[in-house]
C-alpha cells in the first residue's frame, strides 16, 4: 500500500526540536522541562495519559500557547511563535480535533479558506476577486494526489461523511504545510472504516515528504501508522519507543508509569 519507511540516519537534521520547555498555570505545572524531536519524513505519535501535559506541548509547537521558558527549533533555526497564525506562516499546519471546516461551504472553498487564490492583475487584487476555476482545479489535483475520491470539489462539506470531512481537513493542512503537519486526534470521532481511511491519508502525507505529529489516544491506530512514539508523562518526555519492537501493553505501562523507561530493554527505545 504505502512505501516502506526508511528511517533516516540519526544524524539527519531534525525538522523540529524543543528543549526544556516549561509552562506553568499558577501552581499547575503543565510542562516541566519537556523535550521534543521530530525527524524528516516520519510519523511521530505523541501519547500520554490525560493531564500528562501533551496538549500543552502540542499547543506550544503549534503556536497556541507561549512557553514560559525553553527553546524551539525549526530546521535548526530557533523559533518563537506568538500565535497559531505565526506557526502557520512558518509552514506548520495543524488539524484540529473539532473539524475546523465550514460545513455549508464547498470542498474547494474549505481547502482555500483564508488563503483564496485571487484573479491575476490589479483588479483582482483590488477587489479581491476569486479565481474560482484555479481553486477548483488545484483542489481537484491535490485531492487526486492524495487519492481522495470525491466526485466534485463543488459539494458542500456537510454532504460528506465524517471521515471524508476529516479527510478534507487533513488534505487542507497537507496542501499548505511546508514543514510539519500536526494532527490532534484525527480519528477520534470516526468509525473503523473511516478511521482507516484517515490513517491511509496520514501515511500519504508522510510519503509526500511531510513529517506528521500525530496525537492520539487510539493505541491500535498509533501502532498502525507511527514510526516512533513519543511518550509524555508528568509534563515531560518519558521515552521515545519503537512500535516495531515494543508491545502495546508495555507502551501503555510506560505511559501510566507502571514501567519505568529505564527498565525497558534498550532495543525497545527508538534511537
Amino acid at each position: 500500500m504505502t512505501a516502506p519507511y526508511n528511517p533516516p540516519a540519526p544524524a539527519a537534521p531534525l525538522v523540529m526540536e524543543a528543549r526544556n520547555l516549561v509552562k506553568k498555570y499558577g501552581s499547575v505545572i503543565a510542562m516541566n522541562g519537556a523535550d521534543f524531536e521530530l525527524r524528516p519524513g516520519e510519523i511521530l505519535a505523541v501519547i500520554g495519559d490525560n493531564g500528562a501535559g501533551k496538549s500543552s506541548l502540542i499547543k506550544a509547537l503549534s503556536g497556541a500557547t507561549i512557553p514560559d521558558s525553553g527553546e524551539m527549533f525549526l530546521d535548526g533555526q530557533q523559533i518563537a511563535f506568538r500565535s497559531p497564525i505565526d506557526a502557520r506562516r512558518n509552514g506548520i499546519e495543524t488539524v484540529y480535533q473539532d473539524l475546523a471546516v465550514a460545513p455549508a461551504m464547498t470542498i474547494a472553498e474549505n481547502l482555500f479558506l483564508g488563503r483564496e487564490i485571487l484573479k491575476p492583475g490589479p483588479l483582482g487584487r483590488l477587489f479581491r476577486l476569486l479565481d474560482k476555476k484555479k481553486m477548483h482545479d488545484e483542489a481537484t489535483r491535490h485531492m487526486q494526489g492524495l487519492q481522495f475520491a470525491i466526485k466534485s470539489m463543488r459539494q458542500p462539506v456537510e454532504t460528506l461523511s465524517g471521515g471524508q470531512r476529516q479527510g478534507v481537513a487533513v488534505a487542507r493542512s497537507a496542501a499548505f504545510a511546508r514543514h510539519v503537519v500536526i494532527m490532534d486526534e484525527p480519528t477520534a470521532a470516526l468509525g473503523v472504516r473511516e478511521g482507516n481511511m484517515v490513517l491511509d491519508l496520514i501515511r500519504k502525507v508522510r510519503d509526500s515528504g511531510l513529517p506528521v505529529i500525530l496525537i492520539s489516544h487510539n493505541m491500535p491506530h498509533v501502532f498502525e501508522v507511527a514510526d516512533r512514539i513519543h511518550v509524555h508523562r508528568m509534563g515531560k518526555r518519558a521515552a521515545i519507543l519503537d512500535p516495531k519492537r515494543i508491545s502495546m501493553a508495555d507502551t501503555v505501562s510506560v505511559m501510566t508509569g507502571a514501567i519505568r523507561p529505564e527498565d525497558l530493554s534498550a532495543d525497545m527505545l527508538a534511537g
Binding site: 500500500m1 497559531p84 497564525i85 502557520r88 495543524t94 484540529y96 473539532d98 473539524l99 475546523a100 471546516v101 465550514a102 460545513p103 455549508a104 461551504m105 472553498e109 479558506l113 483564508g114 488563503r115 483564496e116 485571487l118 477587489f127 479581491r128 476577486l129 476569486l130 474560482k132 487519492q147 481522495f148 475520491a149 470525491i150 466526485k151 466534485s152 459539494q155 454532504t159 460528506l160 461523511s161 471521515g163 471524508q164 479527510g167 472504516r193 473511516e194 482507516n196 481511511m197 491511509d200
Partner: protein, 328 residues
C-alpha cells in the same frame, strides 16, 4: 497503488439536486400569488403596477441587503429602520434648517447611519454583547434620539437633490423611479461581492463556523465591524430612497422595518443561524411581501389580513426549510 481510494466506500454524495425547498417554495408562492391576483384584479398584472410594487418595497429591500449581510455572519440588527429614519432626518434637517449644501447633507446622513452601524459592531465585538441585545438597546436609544433631534416634527420643503431618486424615467410607457434602479443595482453588487470575492466568502465562513474561520486566519472582529458599517451605509441609502419617495424627513419612519427586513431575509431562504443564504433570495422575499400587500389591497381585502398572510408565509418558509434540511 492500484487500489481504489478508500473514500469511495462512503455514501455517494448527492450532486445533482433540485434547488432546495427553501428557494423553490417562495418562488412557487410568488407565482401562485401573481396568478391569483391577476385573475381577481384587472389592474394587478401591468407594468405600471409592478413598477409601483418595486417602488413601494425599494427602501425596505435596500435595508434588507444590510440585514442579509448581518444575518449571514450570524448577527441581527433590530435598530435598522430607526437608524435609517435618523439618517433621513439628518439629511432633511441639515438641508433645510441649517441650509447646508444638499449633497453634503446627504453625505452627513450616510455618515450618521454608518456611525451607528459601526457603534453596534463595537458593542458586539468589544463589549461582547450579543447582537440581538446590542441592537435592541440601540433601537431604544435612536428612537429617543429621532424624537428629540426632530422635535417630533416632520421636516418638509426638501431641496430637489434629496428627492431626485423619486424621479422617474420611462421604459415602454412604464415609469420607473431611479430609487428602484438603485435598489436593483445594489442587489447585484451585493450578490457579486458575496459570491465572487474573498471577503464575501469570509462572511459565509464566519457565520458557518466561526472557530474554523478564526483558525483559517480570518479576522472575525474586523469582518464584523466592516459588515455592520457597510450595512449602515445601506441604511443611509435606504433613507435617501425613502425621503425621495415621501418628500419628508419623518421621525416616525422605519418603526416596523426591523421585522420587515428580517421577513424578507427569511422568506428568501437565508438561515437566521448564519452562514447560509443568498442575497438575491432576500430580493425575492421583499418582492413577495410587496406583491401580497399590493395584490390584497387591489382585490379589496382589509389590511389586517396582509399581516396575517405575511405571518403565515414566514412560518411556512422556515418550516419548509427545516423539513428540507432534515431530509438532507
Amino acid at each position: 497503488m492500484t487500489q481504489p481510494a478508500p473514500a469511495s466506500t462512503a455514501p455517494p454524495p448527492r450532486r445533482f439536486q433540485l434547488p432546495s425547498l427553501s428557494t423553490l417554495g417562495p418562488l412557487i408562492a410568488l407565482l401562485i400569488a401573481v396568478i391569483v391576483f391577476s385573475s381577481q384584479s384587472p389592474r394587478f398584472f401591468s407594468g405600471t403596477n409592478f413598477s409601483l410594487i418595486l417602488q413601494q418595497i425599494s427602501y425596505t429591500a435596500v435595508l434588507a441587503i444590510g440585514q442579509t449581510l448581518i444575518i449571514l455572519i450570524a448577527g441581527i440588527d433590530l435598530s435598522i429602520g430607526i437608524v435609517m429614519a435618523l439618517g433621513g432626518l439628518v439629511m432633511a434637517k441639515l438641508a433645510t434648517q441649517s441650509g447646508l449644501n444638499p449633497l453634503l447633507a446627504i453625505g452627513a446622513g450616510f455618515l450618521t447611519t454608518m456611525f451607528f452601524g459601526f457603534l453596534n459592531s463595537q458593542i458586539i465585538t468589544r463589549l461582547r454583547v450579543p447582537p440581538f441585545i446590542a441592537t435592541l438597546g440601540m433601537l431604544g436609544i435612536v428612537t429617543a434620539l429621532n424624537q428629540t433631534y426632530s422635535g417630533s416634527q416632520t421636516l418638509s420643503n426638501l431641496p430637489p437633490a434629496l428627492t431626485a431618486l423619486g424621479n422617474t424615467f420611462k421604459i415602454g410607457g412604464t415609469a420607473i423611479t431611479y430609487g428602484t434602479v438603485l435598489m436593483l443595482v445594489l442587489y447585484l453588487i451585493a450578490w457579486f461581492v458575496l459570491s465572487e470575492t474573498a471577503p464575501g466568502r469570509h462572511v459565509y465562513a464566519v457565520g458557518n463556523n466561526p472557530e474554523a474561520a478564526r483558525l483559517s486566519g480570518i479576522p472575525i472582529n474586523r469582518l464584523t465591524v466592516t459588515v455592520y458599517t457597510v450595512a449602515g451605509l445601506l441604511y443611509g441609502i435606504a433613507a435617501l430612497i425613502l425621503v425621495a419617495r415621501t418628500g419628508v424627513g419623518d421621525p416616525n419612519a422605519g418603526q416596523t422595518d426591523n421585522l420587515d427586513s428580517i421577513t424578507a431575509v427569511v422568506l428568501g431562504g437565508t438561515s437566521l443561524f448564519g452562514g447560509r443564504g443568498n442575497v438575491l433570495g432576500t430580493l425575492l422575499g421583499a418582492i413577495i411581501v410587496g406583491v401580497f400587500r399590493n395584490g390584497l389591497q387591489l382585490i379589496g381585502i382589509a389590511s389586517v389580513y396582509q399581516s396575517l398572510i405575511t405571518g403565515i408565509l414566514i412560518i411556512a418558509a422556515v418550516a419548509l426549510d427545516q423539513v428540507s434540511r432534515r431530509k438532507g
